[in-house]
């Protein structure tokens, strides 16, 4: 497949082509990276889309929530793409990806495209590929992009920095989870959803909302005059999923009204530009065999005490 064919296929919304394009973006091969960039510039679209990040601890019900939300969106006539990112790369070997088994009806729908991605040893980390994959999905005509990521490591922050709405799922036992909540996460949340509000846990979930509301009260809001939204859902029983969608839409329209939406996307692009430059510099610095060798030599010297670190650093950069 030539790059033009690929681009054309993506723009025509062909599943096979979109999938291949994402593979290209995810590839660790230098040559593929070049092609991927070309492809992305060819297919850039100006389509209006909504990008939602969905995060939370393992097992909180992200995939199940997406199954329910995705089906609802499709009923409303929208096309949905789901990018599932698993940053917990295994110590050895490949990944084993079972996410789609929890999105059984969604994954069989024509209007849905779901791509789980292993992350073991990718260039540029989670952020790069997900952002680019997201753009490809938009070019292929998907209206809403849902990015699922486990709340581990930096991935949450990375995902938050590329979406319009960042939604975090929590378990009903609020008191306990408040303590476990990661530093800095509260500040980037737009919508906090207590999942599994069903059966014996329904009441507990309601109480959790109050507790969270109190805790969040003390924070300076992410945007002036727009507070964090809270709600309880049951993804498995498909309860209040419509309310969650309303909250997402509500946020988007307020952001648009206030002109934040566009500005934020622009800013995300600028940050992204900076990040790419930095990554490239680092890659050039450590990536070439020659430089690596040079660095190793210097390291040896530092170890033996033959050279001071500051001087070594200077030498390294002089090259």
């Amino acid at each position: 497949m030539t790059i033009d064919e690929l681009a054309k296929g993506v723009q025509e919304g062909k599943r096979r082509h979109l999938a291949k394009a994402i593979t290209l973006v995810e590839s660790n091969r230098e040559a593929d990276q070049q092609t991927a960039q070309e492809l992305i510039s060819k297919v850039r679209s100006a389509k209006e889309t909504i990008r939602v990040g969905i995060s939370g601890v393992p097992g909180v019900g992200k995939s199940t929530f997406i199954e329910a939300l995705g089906n609802l969106l499709i009923e409303e006539g929208l096309k949905v793409a789901v990018l599932a990112v698993d940053p917990s790369s295994p110590a050895t070997g490949g990944s084993i990806l079972g996410d789609k088994t929890r999105m059984e009806t969604l994954s069989s729908k024509d209007e849905a495209f779901i791509r789980p991605s292993p992350t073991s040893g990718t260039l540029g980390g989670v952020a790069k590929r997900t952002r680019e994959s997201m753009m490809l999905c938009e070019a292929a005509g998907y209206d809403v992009i849902l990015v699922e990521t486990v709340g581990v490591g930096q991935s949450e922050f990375e995902v938050a920095s590329m979406v319009d709405c960042f939604l975090v799922l929590m378990l009903p036992g609020a008191g306990d989870s408040l303590q476990g909540i990661k530093r800095g996460i509260m500040e980037i949340i737009d919508i906090l959803v207590i999942n599994k509000a069903d059966g014996d846990q329904e009441k507990m979930a309601k109480n959790a909302v109050t507790e969270y509301q109190n805790a969040f009260h003390l924070l300076t809001p992410k945007y002036d005059g727009i507070g964090v939204e809270f709600l309880t859902v049951s993804s498995i029983k498909k309860k209040r999923i419509d309310a969650a969608w309303e909250k997402i839409q509500g946020l988007i329209s307020v952001l648009k009204e206030k002109g934040i939406f566009e500005a934020q996307r622009k800013e995300q692009e600028l940050n992204w530009f900076k990040r790419l430059v930095e990554d490239e510099v680092l890659r050039r610095l450590w990536g070439s065999r020659e430089n690596k060798k040079h660095a190793e030599e210097l390291v040896e010297k530092i170890k033996k005490g033959e050279i001071a670190p500051a001087l070594a650093a200077k030498k390294m950069l002089e090259k």
Binding site: R15, A19, S107, S108
Partner: protein, 714 residues
């Protein structure tokens, strides 16, 4: 005692001399169950454990549930069978009964198991294939034609669609002139293990438990000679569980059922005597004998402790056994006759009440007439040519057997306590605990076989270089399906539409409200000619269809294999591929149709991931369309179809067709599972690149898959 002590010391010295200085203890082994198997047991070992097996027919029934056991009447030869149409299966049953079989055991096809009529689009590959297709009471009547249901004990393996099938059986009998009181037999009705290992569930767990207890209620009132449930460990062992896990999870399931029935208002003595059990008997001879003895002992103790029944019979564990199908090989298949005989002996010496012995072509296809005959005769020979039946519990008092019975029982007790701490088996299953334990055990076992630590004759040792072809039973599922569809149309045309509809509505209502006995209502609907699929759907309308949470394990296979040089070579080969390709080789392991055999798929998936593949695991019960869509979106190099229930000739060509249509013809397809060699050429022609049958060495398969991807790219 002192004599004994010096005797033991002398023995040790003797051994150590033979070992040329090695310690006698070095001959002890660790069993997979997690306790030590001693090289020698003596009277001290028995007294130390403080166990007294007592007498057969008396608490705690270690030596057998009945006092006379086989000396009065041998166990029931009960062969599990069913295939194609009701008519074909009926013919087969009648022949078997003439030739010494004593009870019937019906195997339904997977469409029926999952509550679909034969005309449902999701079951095109499954009708009549792995069991008999039953869509309505009319089929059920044909199935038992000429078989007097007041005399014949009938066991039915049905769990998911248990309501319409029980109803069809009751109404078929009624129309034969036999009332429910006269019916004897067993319904499996064990839904918990379906969620764990057997995978023919339909509704969510809680709702399914309601059905179990409605059936227990119905039978305890109306069918006093009928076993309302068969609490099964068999499928757990076949899915990978060791004897301790099998024993513990089965008894814990049993406790959960008793609890549910008691909570629904039944007196424990009203139903507990009609509970029956079902275990697998594998090749670990002494362990399996001990398992049956431990099962009886522990069940009696647990029932007494938790439910204090007044009737002794409520404490008594009666069981059916089946020899292990997993232990049988596609390679050099006549070896399987030997394996089955050994396992049958263990079941008998353990004191089973009835027994199924497998056919030597178990790993190849459904049994043929010849292989069924040999399987049945394995039992008639033990019963009638050996004198084993003339002594009750002949191994009782053996130092080894008594010690192992005790150790296994203690091990199982520990596991049961863990389950209790989680809140019982239903909760543990919800958390995925037992399934995970079983899958880990399966991965460990597979690694042991692939590595050669565990011997399987003909597979990884003493291989027969030139295999003779084996005759197979091949069912024309399309033909069976067409016939069934006609029958369904006929029934639907003739019946009183309004009455059927009302009867079905009543079922949905009862399901929603929680009132009434659903089996009772289903019997009514069946009289009105509602089909199996329609009754299932009536319940589904209230409760929905359950989808399982698929968990995956990582690193277990490798933990056994790591040190192996060959294994490391495969890993390097995969790493090299990843380097060149810019990503890891990616495979979708998929199950299509209603085939719920997932042991192989799970083991292959986890092993492939350990070796360096990125592995996507598809949901159970996919259609070819769904499989293709997932493969395309994930942009896999390979689709690995795992197929064991004979749907391959329908489903794989469909998959190929869809891939081509979606411009994804370059995705390679490999197939694994129970595929008779007779079908290989058909599949190759359809577009399959490689086929991996039972006994496949997984690292070798992985290497071959890499070669195939490379060849495709070239």
């Amino acid at each position: 005692m002192s004599d004994n002590n010096s005797g033991k010391e002398n023995w040790k010295k003797g051994v150590e001399k033979l070992l040329k200085g090695g310690k006698a203890e070095s001959l002890n082994r660790q069993s997979p169950e997690g306790f030590e198997i001693q090289a020698l047991y003596d009277s001290e070992d028995v007294s130390k454990r403080n166990t007294d097996p007592g007498y057969p027919g008396e608490f705690p029934f270690t030596r057998g549930p009945y006092s006379s056991m086989y000396t009065q009447r041998p166990w029931t030869i009960r062969q599990y069978a069913g295939f194609s149409t009701a008519e074909e299966s009926n013919k087969f049953y009648r022949q078997a009964l003439e030739k010494g079989q004593k009870g019937l055991s019906v195997a339904f096809d997977l469409a029926t198991h999952r509550g679909y009529d034969s005309d449902h689009p999701r079951v095109v590959g499954d009708v009549g294939k792995a069991g008999v297709a039953i869509d309505s009471v009319e089929d059920m009547k044909i199935l038992f034609d000429g078989i007097p249901l007041d005399k014949m004990s009938v066991s039915m393996t049905m769990n998911g669609a248990v309501i319409p099938i029980m109803a069809a059986y009751i109404v078929a009998a009624e129309e034969q002139g036999v009332s429910p009181e006269q019916l004897s037999g067993t319904i499996q009705n064990d839904i918990l293990k379906e969620f764990m290992v057997r995978n023919t569930y339909i509704y969510p767990p809680q709702e399914s438990m309601r059905l179990v207890s409605d059936i227990i209620e119905y039978t305890s009132e109306k069918m006093p000679r009928f076993n309302s449930i068969s609490i099964s460990g068999y499928h757990m062992q076949e899915a990978g569980a060791d004897s301790a896990l099998e024993l513990a999870f089965t008894l814990a399931d049993g406790l959960e059922y008793v609890k549910t029935a008691v909570e629904s208002g039944l007196d424990v003595d009203a139903f507990a005597p009609r509970l029956s059990f079902f275990f697998a008997i594998g090749m670990n001879f002494l362990m399996e004998v001990s398992k049956l003895r431990a099962a009886r002992t522990l069940w009696a103790e647990l029932m007494k402790e938790h439910f204090q029944p007044k009737n002794q019979k409520s404490l008594m564990l009666r069981t059916h056994c089946q020899t292990s199908g997993w232990s049988l090989t596609a390679q050099d298949p006549l070896n399987n006759v030997v394996r089955t005989t050994i396992e049958a002996m263990a079941a008998v010496l353990g004191g089973t009440q009835s027994l199924h012995t497998n056919s030597y072509d178990e790993a190849i296809s459904l049994p043929t007439e010849t292989s069924s005959r040999i399987a049945r005769n394995t039992q008639t020979i033990i019963q009638e040519e050996t004198d084993i039946t003339h002594t009750v519990d002949p191994l009782g008092g053996s130092y080894a057997i008594e010690s192992m019975t005790h150790d296994l029982k203690e091990k199982a007790k520990t596991i049961i306590n863990e389950v209790m701490e989680m809140g019982g088996m239903a909760k543990a299953i919800e958390e995925g605990y037992p399934k995970r334990k079983i899958e880990e055990a399966a991965a460990i076992k597979q690694a042991g076989i692939d590595k050669g630590d565990i011997t399987i004759v003909g597979v990884n040792k003493y291989v027969n270089e030139k295999e003779d072809p084996v005759d197979i039973l091949d069912i024309d599922n399309t033909g069976v399906r067409d016939g069934q569809v006609n029958l369904i149309d006929e029934i639907k045309a003739k019946r009183d539409k309004v009455a059927t509809k009302e009867a079905l509505l009543a079922i949905t209502e009862a399901a929603k409200s929680g009132e009434g006995n659903i089996l009772d209502l289903a019997v009514e609907a069946t009289r009105k000619r509602a089909t199996v699929g329609e009754i299932s759907t009536a319940l589904e309308q209230a409760w929905g269809r359950h989808t399982a949470t698929n968990q995956t394990i990582k690193g277990v296979y490798e933990s056994v294999y790591k040190s192996d040089k060959g294994y490391q070579e495969i890993k390097s080969k995969i790493d090299a591929f990843s380097e060149e390709e810019g990503r890891r080789p990616r495979i979708l392991v998929v199950k299509m149709g209603q085939d719920g055999h997932d042991r192989g798929a799970k083991v292959v998936a986890t092993a492939f991931a350990d070796m360096g593949f990125d592995v996507d695991v598809g949901p159970l019960f996919s259609t070819p369309e769904e499989a293709a869509k997932q493969a395309i979106e994930n942009d896999v190099h390979v689709i690995g179809v795992s197929t064991l229930a004979a749907g391959h000739k329908t489903l794989i060509p469909d998959l190929v067709k869809i891939l081509k249509k979606e411009e994804a013809g370059d995705i390679i397809i490999v197939a694994g599972g129970v595929i008779p060699v007779q079908d290989y050429d058909f599949l190759y022609e359809a577009g399959v690149s490689a086929i991996f049958g039972p006994g496949t060495n997984i690292p070798k398969a992985a290497s071959k898959v890499i070669d195939e991807i490379r060849a495709q790219k070239a």
